[in-house]
């Protein structure tokens, strides 16, 4: 650490209640550099970024910007110093237009005082977007009408309306497709040339090595070190993050897929996808890859009966099923782990027990009355098997880390003894160590004969886990690859439509 670096963070400590989140963290970063901050979930990255953006107050320590100590007690004070942040959670106002969101608080006035000049406002917003390289968005459209990746683009654009001095991006790529990520990287490189300091948080190693100049690693709230990206590699970083080398990330399986359990033929949903066909065998892990917006989530939801189907046929164990609701499919033995656990996977205000037993209450009840002991016993076995932490089943899932929350959802479907398990982004926002555990759980299930449809936008995951991989693009199934044929380039090219299989 040199004393003349642009941003200097010195001896930051932070507690939430009695738990230390940051322990004496110091690091520094220069102007015109992309500085990645990495660490497992709960390592303190987000808290550190929130302190830098004024959203959270530090307990002790010092922050220097351009050599001067700064007070960051509100997001507004950070704003004034030119520190702009893109948070993980959207801060957009959904029922307002892109223009209003971007120019919030600084809408141009008409000749008459206090009246907004809308034409001018839209024009300004449009110019700003073009300047940032985010074309193809209609500034008059409401945010609620945009796709999730586009919302994220607006979120990013909003934070960069005026050029920041320090630009903090907290997992910006989680919901971006490849193409939008390219545009974001182009913007980052542009800002870099204009000597903006960019703090970039991400879970994705490939991304970090593509964009970052230096990497700072946090573990359990402690500073582990900063390395030059060029002189490092992902194994070293992961070792610094988890404090040990991980064994085999993707577990080996011994059994071969057996007979067909699920067959989907010409499945259509008017606007979202058409003519989707595939088959899934017992004990098989079938990967489904596609960029955001390719229709993979919609296919999963339709098979599960959560969304309607306009045409086509689904066969489960040879029998045609016409699921109209998840109620039917759950009873048939189909389960869905949704891509956004907060939105539709978990009841955050309820306990581990309530969430894990949600789909199987009938099994532990007589005449509608729950046998609490039996129910709790079942859940406790799951908690132990999946090593869910904390292990008290009465804890609210709200207080669990992302990885443990995901395990609770898996516990729910394990208890339901699903025959077909659809996993939509099972490791999103999950730290590396827990990821490995989840992969183990998934492959154990396959060994037991469960048919698994694994939807993911992480290519290594698809390649590492699947027996076969399907690729979707723009609502169509565009490719099917055996494990031996598949590699990152082929799948990506297929998903992006560069080569048509």
């Amino acid at each position: 650490m040199t004393d003349n670096d642009f941003l200097q963070v010195r001896n930051i400590c932070k507690h939430y209640g009695g738990t230390p989140v940051l322990k004496d963290v110091s690091f520094s970063a220069r102007q015109g550099e992309v500085h990645a901050i990495v660490g497992e979930n709960g390592a303190g990255k987000s808290t550190l970024m929130k302190i830098l953006s004024g959203a959270v107050q530090k307990d002790s320590g010092e922050i220097l910007l351009d050599g001067l100590p700064v007070v960051l007690n509100t997001p507004f004070s950070a704003h004034r110093l030119g520190i702009r942040t893109v948070y993980q959670e959207f801060s957009l106002i959904r029922h307002l237009t892109i223009t209003e969101n971007m120019l919030l608080g600084q809408l141009p006035a008409h000749k008459v005082q206090g009246v907004v000049d809308w034409d001018k406002a839209h024009q300004i917003a449009n110019e700003k977007l073009t300047k940032l390289g985010f074309t193809g968005l209609n500034v008059r459209s409401l945010v609620s009408q945009l796709s999730v990746p586009h919302q994220q683009m607006v979120e990013i654009a909003k934070s960069a309306v005026t050029k920041p001095r320090v630009w903090i991006l907290d997992e910006p790529s989680a919901v971006l497709s490849q193409e939008e990520l390219k545009r974001l990287f182009a913007l980052i490189r542009k800002f870099k040339k204009e000597s903006v300091l960019i703090l970039y948080i991400s879970h994705r190693m490939d991304e970090i090595f593509e964009i970052a100049d230096r990497i700072t690693v946090l573990r359990d709230g402690e500073y582990m070190g900063t390395v030059n990206a060029k002189e490092s590699n992902d194994t070293q970083i992961i070792k610094m993050m988890v404090g040990r080398t991980l064994g085999e990330i993707y577990p080996k399986r011994s059994k071969k897929p057996a007979d067909e359990i699920l067959a989907v033929a010409n499945l259509c949903n008017k606007e979202l996808f058409e003519n989707v066909s595939f088959s899934l065998a017992r004990g098989e892990i079938l990967g489904l890859f596609g960029l955001v917006g390719s229709g993979r989530t919609q296919v999963a939801r339709s098979i599960f009966g959560a969304d309607p189907v306009t045409n086509g046929e689904i066969k489960l164990e040879g029998k045609v099923i016409k699921p109209k609701s998840p109620q039917e499919t759950v009873q048939l033995g189909i389960a869905l782990l949704t891509e956004d656990r907060k939105r539709d996977g978990l009841v955050m205000s309820c306990s581990i027990r309530d969430n894990a037993s949600l789909a199987t209450m009938r099994q532990v009840s007589t005449w509608g009355v729950l046998d609490i002991q039996k129910c709790d016993g079942q859940v406790q076995t799951m908690v132990k098997d999946l090593s869910i932490h904390p292990s008290q089943t009465s804890r609210l899932v709200r207080h669990l880390s992302g990885g443990n929350q995901q395990k609770v959802i898996l516990a729910k479907w394990l208890l339901a003894k699903a025959k077909v398990l659809i996993l939509d982004e099972p490791t999103r926002g999950v730290d590396v160590a827990t990821k490995v555990e989840i992969y183990k759980i998934i492959s154990d299930l396959a060994e037991k004969g469960v048919g698994i449809l694994l939807i993911s936008s992480e290519l290594p995951e698809i390649l590492g886990m699947s027996d076969r991989a399907l690729v979707m693009r723009e609502g169509r199934m565009v490719g099917e690859f055996k494990r031996s044929q598949a590699n990152e380039e082929v799948l990506l090219a297929c998903a992006a439509g560069v080569v048509n299989e």
Partner: protein, 336 residues
């Protein structure tokens, strides 16, 4: 006297913990948050007991049984309201449902000369029907509970006047005595029914599949639907329970007053919502318990009772109650 106060407050805390152990009431999913609720209730009640000990009248048997009788109505309505609030909804139509069932039970006895049990069943049926209408509109068409029950609040009041523009006074003496004469010490049948209802609803929320589903729906409806649970049916059920609770309250109230007025029950929804919120209920779903609601009902009852004893005009009671609700919400705000 301070010793006495300490005894009373510790007795209350004791009672609360015992109840929790015995019936599992109040534990709607665990977590530490619940404990602060109890502390909040205990402190609050201790304050009220302090005020109460300044007058001689408060701890007379007559006043206590009066107090208990007065909270029967709000107690029952609040229970229904709790179940609805747990789903993330609200039921504004409870007041007219109370009045409707009161006037129907009185009318059936007085005008149609039906036996009391039959009249009661009809009155409860009317309440259940009104509740199921609310629930159907909300769950089937995904309408906002606030709007639907606001509409039925008006509509049911109109229906009452169609049935009878004038108050109905049943002449049958049994109509009053069955529910309202002391049965067990100072406890009337009405009071026992209310206490039983609290146990039943507490059991329902914590120990039945439907109850757990309802609690979960208030936390995240879509997650519950995707777990293979029939969300619509459970929302419908919640409003039927609310309608039934209000109808029971209506029958008991008609019996206590001996007269059923078409204008009965105006503003009852406020007291019920207040009781649930004071007891830890979260509007929009995600929190609330039968025991907490019971505490809320008692608190509100005590306030009314005390202000009456001190001869405070009812307008001031309204103001005071309004601020109590705000205070309860504020006190709980810091925890989340």
């Amino acid at each position: 006297m301070s010793k006495f106060l300490r005894n009373v407050s510790s007795m209350f805390v004791e009672m609360v913990t015992r109840l929790k152990d015995l019936f599992g009431i109040g534990d709607s999913g665990g977590g530490k948050r619940r404990w602060t609720d109890y502390v909040f209730m205990a402190v609050f009640l201790a304050l009220i007991f302090a005020a109460a000990s300044m007058t001689d009248v408060f701890f007379t048997e007559r006043n206590i049984s009066n107090l208990l009788r007065q909270i029967v109505t709000n107690g029952l309505i609040s229970l229904g309201m709790l179940v609805v609030i747990l789903t993330g909804g609200i039921d504004l139509s409870v007041g007219p449902i109370v009045a409707f069932s009161a006037i129907v039970v009185s009318g059936m006895v007085e005008k149609q000369h039906l036996p009391l049990p039959v009249a009661i069943i009809i009155a409860l049926g009317v309440g259940g029907l009104a509740g199921s209408f609310n629930g159907f509109m909300i769950s089937r068409f995904k309408l906002q509970p606030f709007i639907v029950t606001l509409a039925t609040l008006g509509a049911i009041r109109g229906l009452i006047y169609v049935y009878s523009e004038t108050p109905i006074t049943p002449q049958d003496p049994a109509f009053r005595t069955v529910f309202s004469s002391p049965l067990l010490g100072p406890f009337t049948l009405s009071i026992l029914i209310m206490l039983l209802a609290f146990l039943i609803i507490g059991f329902f929320i914590n120990r039945t599949m439907a109850g757990r589903a309802i609690v979960a729906i208030g936390g995240n409806e879509e997650a519950v639907r995707l777990a293979g649970i029939n969300v619509r049916m459970h929302i419908l059920l919640a409003y039927i329970i609310s309608g039934l609770c209000s109808a029971v309250a209506g029958v008991l109230l008609a019996s206590r007053l001996g007269i059923a007025q078409p204008s009965l029950g105006t503003g009852f929804e406020l007291d019920a919502i207040a009781a649930v919120v004071i007891g830890g209920g979260i509007l929009g779903g995600g929190g609330g318990s039968a025991l907490g609601t019971f505490g809320g009902v008692i608190t509100l009852g005590l306030i009314d009772n005390l202000l009456n004893l001190f001869n405070v005009q009812s307008y001031y009671q309204q103001i005071f109650k309004g601020f109590i609700i705000l205070f309860a919400v504020l006190a709980r705000r810091k925890e989340t």
